[in-house]
Amino acid sequence: MGREVVRLEDVWVRYDGVPVLEGVDLTVEDDDFLGIIGPNGGGKTTLLKVILGLVRPARGKVWVMGKPPRMSRHEVGYVSQHSLFDPDFPASVWDVVLMGRLGRAGLFKPYSRTDKQKAEDALKTVGMLDHRERQIGRLSGGEQQRVFIARALVTEPKLMLLDEPTASVDPAMQTEFYELLENLKQRMAIVLVSHDISAVSVYVSKIACLNHQLFYHGSEEIAPEVLEATYKCPVQMIAHGTVPHRVLKEH
């Protein structure tokens, strides 16, 4: 139905000879909200990095917005799993959010009025405008995460990649966050990596399970057997017997 924003064909990635992605095929359309679940080390982060062009596959083809990934980076927003930075780093929230405009502003030029306007809007969206002068390292983990989401938003992406964005965020904030995504999904394609199967199954429109290979389920229900294949263990361990249902949406 929508336009195709991501297309992976038979993508293989190896680290030191050990395959991490094995023949992954994936299509994301511009109105998709795709959830990716899978065990630790399954290759979820790697898959996102392939889409970002940060990792080049050993085999296979990748198109983002019909172009090679590195050509379309400025249309992609990214919130990484670990934002490793020095808590004493001398940058304000405002500085950090503006970084999202780096690709648009261009080398050698200062940020334009538009850039600043977008940054303000994004901070408003995540409810952090009041904190714009605060030093980034002095915020709580959840607040930092909101700033990083704002940073991803200011790029005005057509595709948003979120790598376990709620891992360091407390449950109260998580709910807010998923509600934010509910709004965003009108405007862009979203790929959300999460361990939180229940949340994924509640909010996303499609689910894929990744454990080196990708089991892509489109918008159908996930059968327990599929989860079992992905996690290679009795599903009971993960979701105590009852597989998360779409039904939860109505909660």
Partner: protein, 286 residues
């Protein structure tokens, strides 16, 4: 001191101190926040190989130092990024190899090597006017580059991965930054010498960091602090007839201890308790 300023060489020394402070104020901030203190130290020491080469082939030693420091900047940048050698081991080894090459070259050079010590330990009192011109040029390069690429360098220092994602050529910028460090090292060699360069790069920025969270302000503050250390260090060394470079460093060191001691105290009194009992290996959140 003021009466000493009637002498050309003292005025040159003050000018050299200020010009050095600009370079080390700006670049030192990146050195400290991007945590490349040891890469900078390695670049400085490796430049000694160039000094030796200069003597050997009859080139200007400072030109040799510039070549070697640029080459080692690129070398250390690529080795620490592209290979899996433990970073500290790799830097330590390149560092010592540069120095060792310098020693061997000097040994092979014909005739005397008169001002070897002044390359190692520097002497701000004898900076000739021609060097001041060189320093102005290098300061200009540094200031212009940092003004033009301020936002990119900020992103590079803060979060390289995101920088790459939004299309900043992070590796090339990183290497450029290391080259700027190399140029700064060349500027500073005249003032404090190869061995103490690391201190002049680090101390003003580290003190400035205690006082502000804004990178631009940090750069201005570090420059001002560096100039103050240079000026008063020069004064003290003049009054007490001791080596100028070392005095500048010790003055900076004292300021550093004072500022950290102060903020350390503040922190201790703020924390109430929690002693990471033994084994609480400091967890760097980085």
């Amino acid at each position: 001191m003021l009466d000493a300023l009637q002498y050309d060489f003292m005025r040159n020394a003050v000018a050299a101190g200020v010009l050095a402070a600009v370079a080390c104020g700006i670049i030192g901030v990146y050195v400290v926040v991007k945590r490349v203190v040891f890469i900078s130290g390695g670049i400085a020491h490796a430049s000694f190989g160039g000094v030796g080469l200069g003597y050997l082939v009859g080139l200007s030693p400072i030109l040799g130092a510039a070549l070697f420091s640029l080459a080692s900047a690129l070398g250390m940048g690529l080795v620490t990024r592209r290979t899996r050698l433990p970073e500290d081991t790799a830097i330590g080894i390149m560092w010592a190899i540069g120095m060792a090459m310098g020693i061997i070259f000097i040994g092979l050079a014909p005739g005397y090597v008169p001002d070897l010590f002044s390359y190692l330990f520097g002497n701000i009192l004898t900076v000739p006017f021609s060097d001041l011109v060189l320093m102005i040029a290098l300061d200009a390069v540094i200031v212009v580059t940092v003004v033009l690429l301020y936002k990119e360098f900020l992103a590079l220092s803060f979060d390289e991965e995101f920088g790459a994602v939004v299309g900043v050529p992070v590796e090339r910028l990183y290497l450029l930054l290391l080259c700027l460090i190399a140029l700064t090292v060349v500027v500073l060699i005249r003032v404090v010498g190869i061995i103490l360069v690391i201190a002049l790069l680090t101390i003003p920025a580290a003190v400035a960091r205690q006082l502000t969270h804004d990178m631009k302000k940090m750069m201005v503050l570090a420059t001002v602090l560096g100039a103050l250390f240079a000026f008063f260090g020069l004064w003290l060394s003049y009054e007490f007839d001791v080596a100028s470079g070392a005095t500048i460093i010790l003055l900076g060191g004292a300021a550093m201890l004072a500022s950290f001691g102060f903020s350390g105290l503040r922190r201790v009194s703020g924390r109430e308790a929690i002693v990471p009992a033994d084994g609480g290996q400091r967890q760097d959140r980085r």
